[in-house]
């Protein structure tokens, strides 16, 4: 017992920390940091250019990253469960190539879309089998499939770009209730996944797996089945994102979305997802996606070279994971 205490019960009562006030709990959440950064970025950007006060302009800019943002939502859940997937950008390219090639060779559109989405599912299942079935580390497995999927896309599509029919092109120009379709899709996906992760048993189990996989298994959680569904969802999200990307660009090449894994991981990390698993929210990634769009658009408006933007993204990734780690290590004590 400590020297200050007279009787043991009094000491232990003092030792037990009182619950933090709600405002403190909210303040030390990483999402609060993301929101604060988002507001700062908006103010800074609107000082830079008055365009940023125009909601339509921001929405239009968002369509450029909506595909990555949708995948980042699922990636957040994968990271919370203690795994990682670096292959979605390549999976996106491969399913888009398969879809476009199928359509070009005369397969009807609905079937081509089915092929695209089906291939995404297959890729997700393959990742899942390697990581969960064979117990291989997801980091290296998905580095391998990152190379493999993009490589297969290059083999089947070659170096030329495949054009798509006029009517398929331009999903980003379609407005539903004043919002571009990809943005609507992102909003719906955020809402659904946010509810799944935050309010369902399945969602809570993902957190438990990420916090302590062994304990979760002993508690009767079907860790393998849950992780498998996450990887399959990842494949599904990648193929859908690939189809949106294709519609926005109007043509497909094997290098579609090349290096996109950086932005996806960055969105998850900026949103306060803990890289070692067990912590993070869809809300955080949702806010981070907008933050990243403002930053990227701001850099474009400020006439920064794409290379400089690459540098900034790299720095952001490192800074955001240092910050998130610092926040969590403070709250853990």
């Amino acid at each position: 017992m400590t020297t200050t205490g007279q009787n043991p019960t009094a000491v232990s009562a003092l030792d037990a920390a009182r619950p933090r006030p709600t405002w403190q709990v909210i303040l030390i959440r990483p999402e609060t940091m993301t929101l604060a950064l988002l507001i700062i970025a908006l103010i800074a950007a609107s000082l830079l250019s008055p365009y940023f006060l125009d909601v339509t302009y921001i929405l239009q800019s968002f369509t450029l990253s909506a595909e990555f943002a949708i995948i980042a939502l699922v990636l957040t859940m994968v990271i919370i469960s203690g795994e990682i997937d670096l292959s979605p950008a390549s999976a996106m390219a491969l399913s888009a190539c398969l879809f476009a090639l199928a359509y070009q060779s005369g397969v009807p559109m609905w079937l081509s879309i089915g092929i695209g989405i089906g291939s995404g599912l297959v890729m997700g299942i393959l990742n899942g089998l390697l990581v969960i079935g064979l117990q291989l580390p997801s980091i290296i497995v998905t580095i391998g499939t990152l190379t493999l999927y993009r490589g297969i896309a290059q083999v089947i599509a070659g170096d030329k770009s495949i054009r798509l029919p006029e009517w398929y092109v331009g999903i980003d120009k379609v407005l539903i209730a004043g919002l571009p379709a990809p943005v609507i899709l992102f909003l719906v996906a955020s809402l659904v996944l946010g509810l799944v992760l935050g309010t369902t048993i399945y969602g809570r189990q993902i957190y438990q797996i990420g916090t302590n996989a062994v304990a979760a298994r002993h508690a009767g959680i079907r860790t393998k089945a849950i992780k498998m569904t996450l990887f399959v969802m990842m494949g599904l999200a990648s193929s859908i994102a690939g189809l949106i990307f294709t519609s926005r660009l109007g043509s497909v090449r094997y290098d579609l979305g090349l290096g996109g894994e950086l932005q996806m991981v960055l969105m998850a990390m900026l949103g306060g997802t803990y890289i070692f698993g067990g912590r993070g929210t869809i809300l955080g990634t949702f806010l981070a996606a907008w933050l990243l769009v403002i930053i990227a658009t701001g850099m474009t408006v400020a006439n920064l070279l794409p290379a400089t933007q690459l540098t900034v993204l790299g720095i952001l990734l490192i800074v955001s994971i240092i910050a998130t780690n610092a926040i969590y290590s403070r709250t853990q004590r």
């Binding site: 499939t145 297969i152 890289i275 790299g314 240092i322």
Partner: protein
């Protein structure tokens, strides 16, 4: 038959060697030209850069980390050395080696510091620095290529002239690096500590190993060797391009390392295995054009190789666990 299979799995180097021989035999039967000395020269000229990168990546993976920024470090140090040649044509040609290796070490040290000081996972840090260093490469070079005329002819001669047997200098250099890595990992205290750290990161500090210094050193070496590969890139190809130089290098290197029997779970891996892995990839790359396979299949092959190597690695580990259990049961 089963015993032969077991032997090949346990002595991984022998297994890869058999694969190389079989592969060359099959390709040689289909295209006799593959087995000529000329073709051997082509294969050998393909491997030096990957060999040096693979030595770096081997050390990192043995320490149970991974370095994705190798290609960007190669590009950055190559472009800075190239710019030095462009702006100061009067400097002796060998200064490029010091500049490139020095810059590479610096970049590697930054990786190492981020990983050790902030306790971050290497994969995310190096994913970040992969794009950070690549971006810096564009910024410092103003996105301009270093053309052929700026690279000193003595440097280019390293890849063309030969001290003996018609084998260019650059190949001796690569094998020299491999030999040095062998001596370092097998015959120095620090070298063995890398293996100890990788096989059990919890036990290593208890045995008095300074985990942070060893990790820092591994990443600095990785940077230094990437820098060396950078200047040799300039020598081999005679130009440095900010967008091409070194992109995708990390995947080739990881493929070579894991096919060479380095376990991704850390602590296991030999220089000989890695060298053989590099040679196998070199043979495959050289055979593709002869077999009429388009060059676009390269990436798919690297990816497939990584996955296959992981599967082999797993089956070896399972056997090891089974053997241990059998031993215990007997005792």
């Amino acid at each position: 038959m089963r015993r032969v299979y077991d032997f090949l799995l346990q002595r991984r180097e022998a297994g890869i060697f058999v694969m190389i021989v079989l592969f060359c035999a099959v390709v040689g039967l289909m295209r006799p030209r593959f087995l000529t000395l000329d073709e051997l020269r082509i294969i050998l000229l393909l491997v030096p850069l990957i060999m040096i990168g693979a030595m770096a990546q081997m050390l990192v993976i043995v320490a149970r980390h991974v370095d994705l920024s190798i290609g960007s470090m190669l590009g950055f140090s190559a472009i800075v050395s190239g710019m030095m040649y462009r702006y100061y044509p009067e400097v002796p040609w060998w200064t490029g080696f010091f500049v490139s290796v020095g810059i590479g070490s610096g970049l590697g040290l930054i990786n190492g510091l981020l990983i050790t000081v902030f306790r971050l996972p290497a994969i995310i840090v190096t994913l970040g620095t992969l794009s950070l260093y690549r971006g810096l490469t564009f910024i410092v070079s103003n996105a301009r290529q270093i053309d052929r005329q700026y690279i000193p002819s003595e440097l280019k001669a390293l890849s063309q002239t030969s001290p003996i047997f018609g084998i260019p200098w650059i190949i001796f250099l690569a094998f020299g690096v491999a030999l040095a890595t062998y001596l370092f990992t097998m015959h120095t205290r620090v070298g063995r500590q890398i293996y100890a750290l990788g096989s059990n990161p919890v036990a290593a500090p208890l045995r008095g190993i300074r985990v942070n210094s060893v990790t820092l050193m591994v990443f600095t070496i990785s940077g230094a060797l990437s820098g060396l590969a950078g200047i040799l890139y300039a020598s081999r190809w005679g130009f440095v391009n900010p967008s091409n130089t070194g992109t995708g290098f990390e995947f080739q290197v990881i493929a070579a390392v894991v096919i060479g029997g380095v376990s991704i779970n850390g602590g296991v891996g030999t220089v000989l295995g890695t060298v053989l892995g590099v040679l196998l990839l070199g043979c495959v790359s050289a055979a593709l054009p002869l077999l009429g396979v388009p060059g676009t299949t390269q990436n798919a092959i690297y990816g497939a190789v990584i996955i296959i190597a992981l599967l082999i690695d797993r089956s070896v580990r399972q056997r090891g666990i089974a053997a241990l259990a059998a031993q215990k049961a007997r005792a």
